[in-house]
Symmetry: D2
């Protein structure tokens, strides 16, 4: 695929949906700055010394006004940035337009096809003759995946002369990837090796990608240092929860139901499940938890929540929220067949297969009626009864909601990205970071909390010297 | 004003925005039925005896899929209905289209001008040669106001020959009313007297209108019996709260802010204020209450909430929610001048003047930037700082939100309307109801609770005879 | 019964358990003053004008340090007081000793027999030759009951010459009452008539007594004006709840169980039931509600609480809390037979028969093991299983707990008593109050809230003149 | 010190306060069994194979009915036990009497002097000629401390001939320890070496002791394997919290205050602080947090809680709860001087010095008035104002409360002790455990959760093989 790329007055490249929305995007970015004190504080604290001077940063992370604040923090610290999204639905086109005009090369629009999505990643990684980026800001790991697959293919090609074969896999996403790599090999058989050569490190923000990267570290295939921003305390305690809660609040609005008095089943009582259960209780639902882990189950019971199996409650509940998943599915089409008419099912886990959409889509004679954006009623032909599935069974946080797919992004999360990038860049020649996954150093984590607190009016007690000893 | 009226295949009149949305509206109505068990149960319980046979019901109440379920419950019980909205923003055009096609005369569309709004009320009251409706379902009292003003004008005209003069008032709404009445007098100088003659009674659902009606009862000007549905227990305990909460949840989404860590000022700690404060606390805000009533203030303090004056906290808070109002304003433009940049202000009271929009609009040099639907940033010229006002300072529950302005309407509230209408109609010849405001009889109130409970899986304990004695 | 009465240095009469505890009681009273800002404020606000000068007040209300603060507020306002308790268990002997020495005639000790209890009431009503009290402060209505029964007996005696016959009733309490009255008739056949003559009015604080008094008003037997302090807003919103909650917190400590993870059944979802359910949820129990009222049931369901019948859940719950009762019992011995071993049963309703203690006590072969103060395990002989009943099935708030049976008494409640007494006394010659039950006037209620707020650091917003209009 | 030791019929030794309470203690133990499902389940699961056969277990842990259930679980699994308390106040004498009569050697009574306390530890460690115990169950680390100090002294004595000198230290506790060791050396200069020789390992339950043991591991002085039960998930998530909450609920009852409407300062927002803050909020207090850690501070702010310095709020708060401490004190006497009259101060941290009791006790002219058990009012002479300090400023969980000093002990915590002891004993010859501190293996932790869940009616979902892969 080759799409036309445009250039801003600054000669920066971009590909956006509607340039004319730049002013409106700028307004949104300014409002977002107000909500991101930790991130904006980075500019005044670090900006003067230009610590990222000379760094090329490729971002592969939802493009929203909040992300624009992140990008423009990087550029305020001296870096250059090229950006693409990590999700085909979450992009806010006005923000993209403003970024393209004012601050960075960007390739993203709402509703990209899978081909377009990967093309955008390619552009964001392509810094021209000098190779790839120095640093990558990741949120899902797709850019990193492309580099690793590219390296593999280049090595195979060098030793065997074989090009990667998209037809060798059934996975449609992988087919696109292999096509890109195959086409790239024709131009430059060392493209991804050159990228790897230059790359100083990566910061990654999603649990799923981090887990995969730990796996690669374990089997020795990880090609560069990674700082795991997802497990930063300011991330785990605030961003994950707040992000989920804020987007989850809108979760059931789409289906326009009253939650009070309903029975809500929460599958999984981990961090996200606890948060969802608490919100549903507060809204007046009676919550039932499904768990496999005895300790999480015991926590639920100790908080006055019944723990049952899905089979026991599938036909009496009104709302099903899946917070944990696996590759094989939690809620299967057989469960859906037993549910009450218009039971609502949504997925707040990162696993697309947690809800058996394949089984639902291929159920003979099923009808699908989209009655609100990304809100479908699936009707079974024999009973004329149906279930309501949000966001096509995918992560409701991002895919769903009408106006603001990726609404609230906490200041802390992005400030952690800045800290991680700074750390990787400052230590690029010291050998401190090897080809491993690292936690964000605690003092950086605390630094972010302090930056954030400053704007919230809190007064921290100073430890006296005597106490510290 | 004379707008063209269309006719359905059934010869029923209507005026809607887009007939073609009728199928989609029907789907939404079907989904709404699922959420309104008490209301739908009325059809099976009362339908067979057709108790409303022959009754003409005029409704003056938001037109949404939920309202369609109400209207179609009336028709299932034998009544005929003509309907208009009680709010120019809350109308859902697809629901209107379905009602027009399938069940009742309806005159409503989203975004009516004030003139159009009152024209719609006129149509809904106009049942042709035989006079007006037998019953009115009210939600704000506008239809009733029109009749009362009409009567007054007709009496004045009869005794003095004078027509009402719209120029005699500065109130733009009253100008429209007087114009309508003046134009009507030319056609039929007894129009509103005939209406009054036929009218059996009214059920009214809003606190504001009920209060006005009690005032009319006190000074002897009330012209027909009213059942006050707003104070029904199933209304006060559930509908008011749930309605406010559900719509309030979306309240701050428009401005895309994270509530956790913010300072939120709630003006008024009555029923709505308590609910809003609880929701804001749950979302992680630190809440401060403004109160004039010592008992409400004491309640706040006993729940761990600080009570301060607005002056004390105006410059440190991030969010201002006005839940109680008056004709002179709670948050004045002088307060806004002292607020933090991008402080958010919203009104969940029924009083349009609770927030000093006039002061804001007429502030010299102020800029207004609409950055989300009904979400405006107002910037003061000297400081370049601004505040964000939702829904132009009017009731955020209804006017705001992107897709579903009047999202969740509880089944109970509308079932109470049905009970009240049934009661008025059954007792129309018994003299039970005089020209007064009545509470909904308690046994009808409980009947609604029982109908609702039936669908929620609750098991009520029966009082044994021995206990009852 | 004739017990010896002692006299303080001041010649005031008293009957207490241990005079030597007066200093310790004084210390407790001083600490209690600190917790009762509204009440103590009455002294500085009203004290200078001595508005109760000359008034004789008889109190029939738990004698604790908090009550001492009340009594000494009355005396600070110029009144004289004679006091007895309204409960045989709640008395704190050190407080009694301090009152006897320092401020009022008092007749009360912990663990009075029923005979002693009524003897104390007799003493508190006996102001010597001049007849009875001017005012009565009631908390349960026993003193008032005695006067009404006395009048009845005197009338019967006058017309028929018959003395009341204690053997004519099975009710042991009534037998005592009739004995007292019979013995009194011998001395003075107009004793209660004289009391009635002098009595200006009564303020009463318990729901049960108020209900009985309304009944007497309805059938025309009420003999004097009553101000119902129980329904004062500052009472209903604060005292009832806080009192119940504070004493309820200790409720299950006696049985030394962990509440988290347990299933708790709450019988009745009225004001007290809602509070108990909330506290149990907070403590980690899964709560199930038993209700006969559909509206209360609907509230429970809307708050995510299951509503079931007692029969459905009797064998799976760990804790049973009865919050509403009747003369025939809610939890019968047959229910107890089906409960889990060591299920805990407690009564927080004012009805002694809510739990079928008679059935339990008379169950053949049952064993009773007291393992903590007022905490009994009752074992059924056939199964060797048993239930744990707190406070012998009577109101756990007062009867239970080791040290402080009637621990927290809110400042507001007693300040309302002061307001009511002041009102009755100030209006004693105006005819404002007839032989009816009256609500506490709202401005007095608000006055109490304002007095209380003053000490809690809250700042009330003043209504501007413009707004007030 | 040499106290007389008695012997039970079984020849077991004991030293208790009152043998005659054994029956009552047994009743309390039976009731406690009912509340400890995980622990009691260990008997049926492991009892038949007698896995602890031959093991000598010394326990140094509060002696209560709950502890008796633990001891008798050990004996049910084949072990022999000798027991002493880890706290001089928490002992329940009736439970001790029952243990002494029925199941184990025990040396404990409520109100031991420091000398008696250490004498009891000596007895519990003294298994006669064969040396010391095989295993130690620790809760504070005192028994372990004695052994380490003993070894040190024996080594010094062996090399230099010097006996330890109690006069060499100002620490009164250490003086007692050195006296014991010195006196022991005269009898057997290898006593503690023999103990070390035999000792297989230790399980320890308190955070403070575990921290010290990690320190010893770090500097190479740890003499035997330790399993850290304090950090077991079932411990951290349940026992710590529940234990604190349950005892904390009674915390402020002693002072007989109403919490609603009060300002409560919580020093430290860690696990315990979060729990205390939540409970105080629920009870109606306005909570203010004092923190030095930015991340904990941010959490507080995000939950709507103000973060201030102690200096800012010391004069406006009513209640001060210290949840974190250090050797130098959090609340100093200078703070107390600035507090409101009768402000309440309590310590729920394990650090005795968190509240500056020394400064208070030595303040010239201060008065101390004990008005409830362990509840003191300290009055400053110049102002006549005072503060109320609970439990003499020591950990309020254990030291305070009238009847049940160590009320609720979760089943899980003690079951973890059993798991740890089993693990140490089963692996005693495999070399699996070195002289280090180990976490409780996760599968044992989960085992405890499963045992507990079984009794709570929860149904765990089984992971299918497919999912597990």
């Amino acid at each position: 695929m080759a799409l036309p790329v445009e250039r801003a007055a600054s000669r920066r490249e971009y590909k956006v949906k509607d340039k004319s929305q730049a002013d409106f995007g700028r307004l949104q970015i300014e409002l977002a700055e107000d909500q991101m004190p930790a991130l904006v504080s980075c500019r005044s604290v670090f900006g003067p010394s230009q610590p990222l001077k000379g760094a090329r940063i490729t971002g592969n992370l939802h493009v929203t006004p909040q992300t624009a604040v992140l990008i423009e923090t990087f550029t305020a610290l001296g870096a250059k940035a090229r950006w693409c999204s990590s999700n085909t639905f979450s992009t806010q086109d006005h923000a993209v337009a403003a970024i393209a005009r004012d601050s960075a090369a960007v390739f993203a629009w709402k509703g990209e096809t899978p081909q377009e999505y990967w093309w955008c990643i390619e552009q964001a990684l392509d810094w021209g003759p000098g190779g790839g980026p120095d640093l990558i800001v990741g949120d899902g790991g797709d850019a990193i995946l492309l580099i690793h697959e590219g390296i593999k293919a280049e090595e195979a090609y060098e030793s065997t002369g074989n090009l990667p074969d998209p037809a060798s896999t059934n996975n449609p996403e992988l087919q696109i990837l292999l096509t890109i790599i195959r086409d790239g090999l024709a131009t430059d058989p060392q493209r991804y090796h050159k990228m790897k050569e230059r790359l100083v490190g990566v910061s990654e923000a999603t649990a799923t990608a981090v887990e995969r990267l730990y796996g690669m570290q374990a089997n020795g295939t990880l090609l560069f240092p990674v700082i795991n921003v997802n497990d930063a305390v300011t991330e785990t305690k605030f961003q994950n929860l707040c992000g989920c809660r804020a987007s989850g609040d809108g979760l059931l609005m789409a289906a326009d139901v009253e939650i009070a008095g309903k029975v809500a089943v929460v599958c999984g009582y981990g961090v996200v499940g606890k948060d969802r259960a608490a919100a549903l209780k507060e809204a007046g639902a009676r919550v039932i938890v499904i768990e496999i882990d005895p300790i999480c189950a015991l926590q639920a019971v100790h908080e006055g929540i019944q723990v049952q199996t899905l089979e026991d409650v599938v036909s009496e509940a009104d709302i099903f929220v899946v917070t944990a998943g696996s590759s094989k599915g939690i809620i299967m089409v057989d469960h859906m067949r037993k549910m009450k008419n218009n039971a609502i099912i949504c997925n707040v886990s990162p696993f697309d297969n947690a809800i058996d959409m394949l089984g639902l889509e291929t159920f003979p004679g099923r009808k699908r009626i989209t009655f609100n954006p990304q809100t479908d009623r699936w009707v079974f032909p024999d009973t004329e009864l149906g279930v309501i599935v949000l966001a096509e069974g995918r992560l409701v946080n991002l895919g769903h909601a009408t106006g603001h797919p990726c609404s609230v992004t906490s200041s802390c999360s992005f400030a952690n990205q800045v800290m991680a990038q700074l750390e990787l860049w400052m230590e690029r020649d010291t050998g401190k970071y090897e080809k491993k996954v690292y936690a964000l150093p605690k003092h950086l984590d605390e630094k972010v909390a302090i930056l954030h607190l400053g704007k919230l009016g809190a007064k921290l007690t100073k430890l006296s010297k005597e106490h510290a000893d």
